[in-house]
Symmetry: C2
Subunit: 153 residues, 2 copies
DNA sequence: TTAGGTGCAAATTCTTTGCACCCTG
DNA sequence: CAGGGTGCAAAGAATTTGCACCTAA
């Protein structure tokens, strides 16, 4: 799937409407347009790009509404963030081929190794996107420490 | 490997010394301590954590030197950055299980699908880190557009 | 000696927040 | 009509930059 199909968008909008209603939040024009902007892009836009896209249809929207709405959509589970959501850049001196485990609770990050993963062959569809240089597996979960502590950080 | 072994650190420091010399840059006390801090941590520290660690041994180091040095180490290829390297948070409305291709040149990001990847079984060593919730493959490379254009963005 | 490196502080950039008005339900 | 939502502007964080002094080579 290179493009987001009309069907996908319809489905996502429907899901949005329902989730919005269930959460008891108001369904405003802004929220709808902001979600639509993310839902219809095959790329994964950053805040600025979403803002510019929404502005075309709704010139008075403010940047901070976009920030707030994206945060809210994330809470509702309607969208996800890529890259360290609300986190800082991290540095890694391990240059050998490895993969990461990241604790979604406390941010702990550990390397692990797997020959099997290193040798993964990618599906052909990837060729239509570009030339592959590296492949890394990112595992998210709860680290042992956080699991013991239960919910709180 | 849970810990970074003494051997690993030695090796990384040696590599650092050599790369530093080859690049014609000066081997300052600050650079050495900053690299050591990243090289010896099994977690992947952010700028602040590196700064705090280095300060213990070198209380006069400044935060911006840490920023500059980490950027320089990255250029030399001695360390890597995790998460949005110099990039903003991105948003994703695709909630089905998918994987990412990211262009290291222009930042383009595309989803791709693979049953095989979805079913990957993790090595046992991961169990000693924590409980897995999701597994995602991140592929880095050059997108077709950038490949055509050659080096420049 | 001397060019590159560092510390400091100010500037940017990205994101969040306080407040008064507006609009959905 | 009421309370949440929005826009604006200002505050906060994170990161970068200009400049004068310092130091490795």
């Amino acid at each position: 799937m290179v493009k987001v199909t009309k069907q996908d968008i319809e489905q996502r909008m429907a899901h949005f409407n329902e989730a919005c209603r269930n959460s008891g939040a108001k369904l405003t024009h802004q929220r709808m347009e902001i979600f639509r902007e993310v839902a219809q892009s095959a790329d994964h836009p950053d805040v600025e790009k979403v803002y510019q896209g929404v502005r075309k249809r709704m010139p008075t929207v403010s940047l901070d509404t976009v920030y707030r709405t994206l945060g809210w959509l994330k809470e509702l589970g309607l969208i996800k963030t890529l890259g360290p959501p609300r986190e800082r850049t991290r540095f890694d001196a391990n240059l050998s081929h490895h993969h990461h485990f990241v604790c979604v609770q406390c941010g702990l990050m550990r390397d692990f190794y797997s020959d099997k993963f290193d040798k993964l062959s990618l599906p052909e569809s990837v060729q239509s996107i570009g030339y592959v240089e590296t492949t890394q597996v990112e595992v998210k979960g709860i680290c042992l420490k956080c699991a013991v502590k239960g919910k709180p950080i």
